[in-house]
């Protein structure tokens, strides 16, 4: 059973811990411009959304990559990146509909989430669990549970 990222934007407080944790765990320094997770905030309303690579099944980035630098290993759920095969054409950054593949000129490579080997730093440091790394079958459990609670309170009023 694979784990997937589940984001809960309503829990995100815009604290940027995820970007710093990502940068620190990959480079041992703080360079959030090179983080593989991105946070978008509407300052006035105070609403933020964290986003990262969705490891798509039919990933457009893999399809456009001319060298096979972006690939899926057999049995893996991840879209992986082989830097030695990458020619830096950046077609993947244009193909990704979420903008989650980013080119970094400092390292001359594509930056995209690799789930930190299965223990993502962003989820570890997120103080509100706005980012969860969770079994795919129960990924939406919290949403289902929250909505079911509404039925529960509706029925409680009408039980004979």
């Amino acid at each position: 059973m694979a784990k997937v990222f589940m984001i809960h934007p309503e829990r995100c407080t815009g604290c940027q811990n995820c970007r710093m944790a990502c940068s620190f765990s990959h480079e041992n320094q703080f360079r959030p411009a090179a983080a593989r997770v991105h946070v978008f905030t509407s300052e006035r309303e105070g609403y933020s959304v964290p986003m990262m690579c969705q490891q798509c099944d039919a990933a457009p980035c893999m399809k456009v990559c001319p060298t096979g630098a972006l690939y899926r290993a057999p049995g893996s759920t991840l879209v992986e990146y082989a830097r030695d095969k990458c020619m830096g054409c950046r077609m993947c950054t244009m193909a990704c509909p979420f903008g989650s593949a980013v080119y970094d000129s400092v390292t001359e490579s594509i930056l995209k989430c690799d789930t930190c080997g299965g223990e993502p730093a962003c989820a570890q440091f997120c103080p509100t669990q706005a980012i969860e790394f969770i079994d795919e079958n129960i990924a939406t459990r919290s949403r289902r549970r929250a909505f079911a609670a509404k039925f529960k309170s509706a029925f409680e009023g009408t039980r004979p």
């Binding site: 811990n17 710093m20 620190f24 360079r31 411009a33 309303e45």
Partner: protein, 602 residues
């Protein structure tokens, strides 16, 4: 370089020139950063007798080494200048994202000097710095200014700016960043306005390097764990936002109302508790850089009398606005607070200034003839909101109040109605019921202030320790400790709310692993003491004396009228001698050469 960024940016608005200089590493080690390094840079260059609103004054924006890293609750920055409200050293600390972004752009500090011939804003993108025209932004309020500047620079640029209050030099105007964060006190916004500097936008892509990544990671986890063990502090702030003190303060009868004429609000039931008031509108949490507590709150209010509002509920601003003015109306409080945010004003000074005017109105010293026909009775929530707007625009009677309660009350020959120290308004923690915070108010280098020596944490809230708020013998020790440790944490770029459960040893470990410079706990706290004394020396040169280290007469001569602390007065004069002694100052409050040498200040 590890920890620090290594470069200071300087912008001269008179000549339109931009330059950089390397960060002096010896100063960085001694003063750490933010408040400390900012103080050192400012005090080395500016004469203490400067007119705060003149082109000769400077203003320093300085993040700390923690800012932009995962050091817990470490994303803050400090604004250092001379305050127009107090004419003392002004150091205002703010959260949000602006401070860390200055670090990512590669700077330990930004020094702004001179005055632009017309309104301008700065656009800092790593090494590229532009001074751009801002005539089209002048007059705009903070949220609109932020959005317009981002649209012209970068949608992810972090913006610090002033609103109409700073432009019109309201003496307690603030500098707002990221829309809701505030460098609030002493009128730093008016200094920015006096320089015709409307905003600063910054975006950075440079790394912050870490000397010992593994040790830094361990220190972070240790600090997070220590913080979560303290349920009162971290968990309370996380769950309730910053309203945590309200109920407790009232329970000990030390929550000021009606300009400190009352200190206790009897509650008939659960819904009447002070903390019940701000929790009624729907509230969503917001968090600052690298912090797990997320104590900010966005409130949405639907009220027939007011348009739906979104307002970040910041700390004692809520207390000052509601209780000091006898206002029970939550929506009015939130709207007044929001106006302060959007116009760029300090809600503590605003609340206390209006409270002062209300007491003078009820005493008949001012009448409706003076107040543009407004009825300034305590409890008039509509007038409170109206006055907030008028003060921010310096409109009519608002212009009279825009100078703060001391100058206002003094202009009528009645300075005793102003609850200020060094002309800066104190927040509603009643110093008669809480002795230590009274000593902090009296001795704080930036005037009446609670945050720089927040002994309320132990006197009232029981964070880590619980001490009796009414005792006096131990308070000089506690006040000095809090003042020194706070200065060091301010200088690191850390947030004081982040200190619950954590001690100097956590911060020293974090700073050591980050910078590679070995800070013992003792050296770390000593850096704080060094910063405190540097500020004190500046104030003495500016003309302050030990006579200015005192509270308004009401607190020593009028006992609290009712409630659990009935009969209490402040004993600041008795504590002052011991405080000076512990600080190594003479009986006039002047640091001795011996102490200055120990601190490497002489």
């Amino acid at each position: 370089m590890n920890g620090w960024s290594g470069t200071i940016l300087r912008v001269n608005l008179s000549t339109g020139t931009v330059s950089t200089q390397p960060t002096n590493l010896k100063d960085a080690v001694l003063y750490i950063g933010a408040r400390g390094l900012g103080d050192k840079l400012y005090i080395d260059e500016v004469d203490a007798r400067v007119d705060p609103l003149s082109p000769e004054n400077k203003i320093v924006f300085a993040p700390g080494p923690f800012s932009g890293t995962l050091a817990p609750s470490g994303g803050r920055y400090h604004v250092v200048t001379k305050g127009p409200l107090t004419e003392a050293i002004a150091g205002s600390n703010a959260s949000g994202l602006f401070g860390p972004e200055l670090r990512y752009a590669g700077y330990d500090a930004l020094i702004v000097e001179g005055k632009a011939p017309e309104p301008v804003y700065l656009w800092i993108r790593d090494d590229v710095v532009e001074i751009r025209k801002a005539a089209h932004l002048w007059g705009k309020w903070v949220p609109e200014t932020t959005e317009m500047v981002q649209a012209e620079t970068d949608l992810d640029a972090r913006v610090a700016c002033i609103g109409p209050a700073g432009e019109r030099r309201v003496l307690f105007a603030s500098i707002m960043n990221d829309v809701h964060s505030a460098a609030g006190r002493s009128g730093v916004g008016a200094v920015m306005g006096s320089k015709n500097l409307k905003a600063i936008a910054v975006y950075g892509t440079k790394p912050i390097k870490v000397a010992h990544p593994k040790a830094f990671r361990e220190a972070i986890l240790a600090a997070c764990e220590a913080g979560s063990r303290n349920s009162a502090g971290g968990a309370g702030l996380k769950a309730y936002g910053v309203d945590v003190p309200l109920d407790v303060l009232n329970e000990i009868g030390s929550l000021a109302a009606n300009n400190f004429q009352q200190s206790y609000i009897p509650a008939a039931g659960e819904d009447d508790r002070p903390s019940a008031l701000p929790s009624s509108p729907a509230r969503r949490p917001r968090g600052c850089y690298s912090c797990v507590m997320r104590c900010g709150r966005i409130s949405k209010v639907k009220n027939p009398g007011y348009v739906s509002q979104l307002a970040e509920q910041a700390q004692e601003e809520g207390l000052a606005v509601v209780f000091d003015r006898g206002i029970d109306n939550t929506a009015a409080m939130i709207q007044s607070n929001q106006l302060c945010d959007e116009m760029g004003m300090d809600p503590i000074s605003l609340g206390a200034t209006v409270a002062c005017a209300m007491e003078m109105f009820e005493a008949g010293i001012i009448t409706v003839k003076d107040t543009d026909g407004l009825d300034l009775s305590f409890g008039n929530s509509a007038v409170m909101v109206e006055l907030t707007r008028k003060i921010g625009l310096r409109d009519g009677f608002g212009n009279k109040l825009a100078v703060g309660s001391y100058r206002f009350a003094n202009s009528y020959g009645h300075p005793e109605f102003s609850m200020t120290v060094k002309k800066q308004e104190i927040p509603p923690y009643d110093p008669r019921g809480i002795q230590g915070i009274g000593l902090e108010y009296a001795t704080c280098n930036r005037g009446g202030c609670h945050t720089k020596g927040y002994t309320v944490a132990v006197e009232v809230l029981g964070f880590g320790e619980s001490i009796d708020p009414h005792t006096t013998a131990d308070k000089p020790f506690w006040v000095k400790l809090f003042q020194d440790l706070t200065a060091a944490i301010d200088a690191s770029g850390g947030c004081i709310f982040g200190t619950s459960g954590r001690g100097g040893e956590n911060y020293a470990a974090l700073l050591t692993a980050l910078t590679g410079v070995n800070y013992s706990t003792e050296e770390y706290v000593k850096a704080g003491e060094r910063i405190w004394n540097l500020e004190r020396l500046f104030n003495l040169q500016a003309g302050f004396t030990s006579k200015d280290d005192q509270l308004p007469e009401r607190f020593t001569t009028s006992p609290i009228r009712s409630g659990p602390a009935k009969g209490q007065v402040s004993h600041v004069p008795e504590m002052l001698t011991e405080y000076y002694k512990l600080r190594g100052w003479d009986e006039d409050g002047v640091p001795t050469q011996e102490r200055l040498r120990e601190l490497q200040l002489a």
